[in-house]
């Protein structure tokens, strides 16, 4: 009989932690430790997720989440593209970076949802307003992280490429290799931020078609529909964890050097 590998052991502990949290929730709900108006039981939440809406006009939680995720992924993908290009340019040109740093830091400090009412008016309350709020909120983070990665790349490796007269497209490839870990770090940081912005901006102003987990949870909360609120929280949380796991796996497969977490620890 062989001992479980570290990955299986870690996975087992991870699942055990989730089960423990679920048990704690179940006990709290069953013993009325917290009022059912706020915390419904796991069974009620499961019913909400499995059987769908209880009233006419409501949509299934999954449908609401799908609408939110569509906008979130569009904004996030655009953020990665814009952030990569601008970050590399800024990191490669010290003076331009210094010039842009003030405005970027300012934009990063402004809660993006504050910009949402303005963008909503400009973009006529269409989905683009939600997507652009994500882009405006996340791009400064992405740009600053990628610029730091570009500027902080090894001078020796850069000098080697110059000494060996390596062709331009290979130098670009090498620059991407240098930036790679920072790109993943930026992507992970902005993924969670994009999800938060997507949900909160729906809570501020519902979308035109009304589809979105933010507005759905807000309405359910007003109607004291705790199972629906918690079902929404559970699904968004699960999506966030899944996204993080996928990015973590991609980072390890593609980069093979340091994970974002390692880099944060080093910093």
């Amino acid at each position: 009989m062989s001992f479980p590998t570290p990955l299986i052991r870690r996975g087992g502990l991870w699942a055990l932690g989730c089960l423990a949290a679920l048990a704690l929730w179940w006990i709290s709900a069953k013993t009325n430790l917290i009022t059912p108006l706020v915390l419904s039981s796991p069974e009620d939440v499961a019913k909400e997720l499995l059987h769908g809406p209880k009233t006419v006009g409501q949509r299934h939680v999954f449908e609401e989440v799908r609408g939110t995720m569509g906008r979130m992924l569009a904004g996030w993908a655009a953020t990665i593209g814009i952030g990569l290009v601008l970050g590399v340019l800024l990191g490669a040109m010290r003076k331009v970076e210094t010039l842009a740093q003030g405005p970027l830091e300012f934009l990063r400090a402004v809660p993006p949802v504050l910009l949402f009412p303005l963008l909503a008016v400009v973009l006529d309350y269409r989905d683009a307003a939600y997507v652009w709020t994500i882009i405006v909120g996340c791009t400064p983070i992405m740009v600053l992280v990628v610029a730091r990665g570009t500027a902080g790349g090894s001078r020796i490796r850069r000098a080697v490429l110059i000494a060996y007269k390596v062709r331009v497209w290979r130098r670009v490839l090498a620059a991407l290799l240098e930036v790679g870990p920072y790109l993943f770090l930026g992507a992970r940081l902005t993924a969670s931020t994009a999800l938060i912005i997507a949900v909160v901006s729906e809570m501020v102003i519902p979308t035109r078609d009304g589809i979105g987990i933010g507005s759905s949870v807000r309405d359910a909360g007003t109607a004291y529909d705790a199972p629906r609120v918690i079902a929404g929280i559970m699904v968004v949380g699960a999506v966030g964890v899944a996204l993080n796991l996928v990015l973590n796996g991609l980072e390890r497969v593609a980069g093979g050097t340091r994970s974002g977490a390692d880099m944060i620890r080093e910093a």
Binding site: L161, A163, K165, R170, T257
Partner: protein, 249 residues
């Protein structure tokens, strides 16, 4: 190739101009290995980097002192070699050789010549320091650039590996008529691999004192011809000469 008027200076933390050396000339001869020896801080690495910057626009096989940092951590050693060897325009396999035959690629050929036995599919983080240095040497020689500039290229190698690499490096430089400049603080290594050694005397340079580059002397390396002991003890005489230069200021 002769490089004249080489100068090196920099601003210190207190913004003082520190002149490391001025108007130095270096001749790099095809098929010959020139060593540079001197005490710590005498400007050996500065000289090498100045030469690196002064070499005309063609690829240079450079082995930096920071060889560990010179390899891309996300690529395997093979990937690191491919990044340079296939891109310099001179490092491709001989087109006359049948493709796929053993030892035809520049990397494989140099690897065999140097007797390097490292696993090139490994990522740098999985390699020892010695393996990384061997990879950096392999990269420089497999690139088939006309110039080889090496800064402390044997610092992390054990005696057995060093001996193999000395022989391989000499053989490649001589047969392929490359010009090599090797900087080291290990006189015996330089004697083993070089044809002549530039010995820089004096103490480390500072804001008030230039390096002893102006008083540097080229000491030739004589190797036994194999016939008899008529040459005396070449190693002892070489070390004696070098020692005299070192203590000349």
């Amino acid at each position: 190739m002769r490089l004249d008027g080489l100068s090196c200076s920099y601003r210190s933390d207190r913004r003082d101009l520190v002149v490391v050396f001025r108007d130095v000339s270096i001749t790099l001869t095809p098929g010959r290995l020139l060593g540079v020896f001197g005490p710590n801080g005498c400007g050996k690495s500065s000289l090498l980097r100045t030469v690196l910057a002064a070499v005309p626009s063609e690829p240079v096989g450079w082995i930096p002192q920071e060889f560990q940092e010179s390899l891309f951590p996300a690529l395997s050693l093979n990937g690191n070699l491919a990044l340079v060897v296939a891109s310099d325009g001179t490092g491709r396999s001989d087109p006359k050789q049948p493709s796929g035959s053993v030892g035809t690629s520049p990397v494989e050929r140099v690897r065999l010549a140097l007797g390097i036995e490292i696993d090139l599919s490994s990522k740098p983080r999985a390699c020892s320091i010695g393996m990384l240095q061997q990879a950096a040497i392999l990269r420089a020689l497999a690139s088939r650039s006309r110039f080889l500039l090496a800064d402390e290229p044997f610092s992390a190698l054990d005696a057995n590996v060093s001996q193999r690499i000395y022989r391989g490096m000499r053989s490649i430089v001589q047969t392929e008529q490359r010009s090599a400049l090797i900087v080291s603080h290990d006189l015996l290594s330089l004697r083993a691999v070089c044809d002549e050694v530039l010995v820089i005397p004096g103490r480390p340079f500072s804001t008030t004192r230039r390096s002893g580059m102006a008083h540097a002397v080229i000491v030739p390396v004589h190797r036994p011809t194999g016939s008899s002991g008529a040459d005396g003890d070449p190693e002892a005489s070489f070390l004696h000469l070098a020692q005299n230069v070192l203590e000349s200021t």
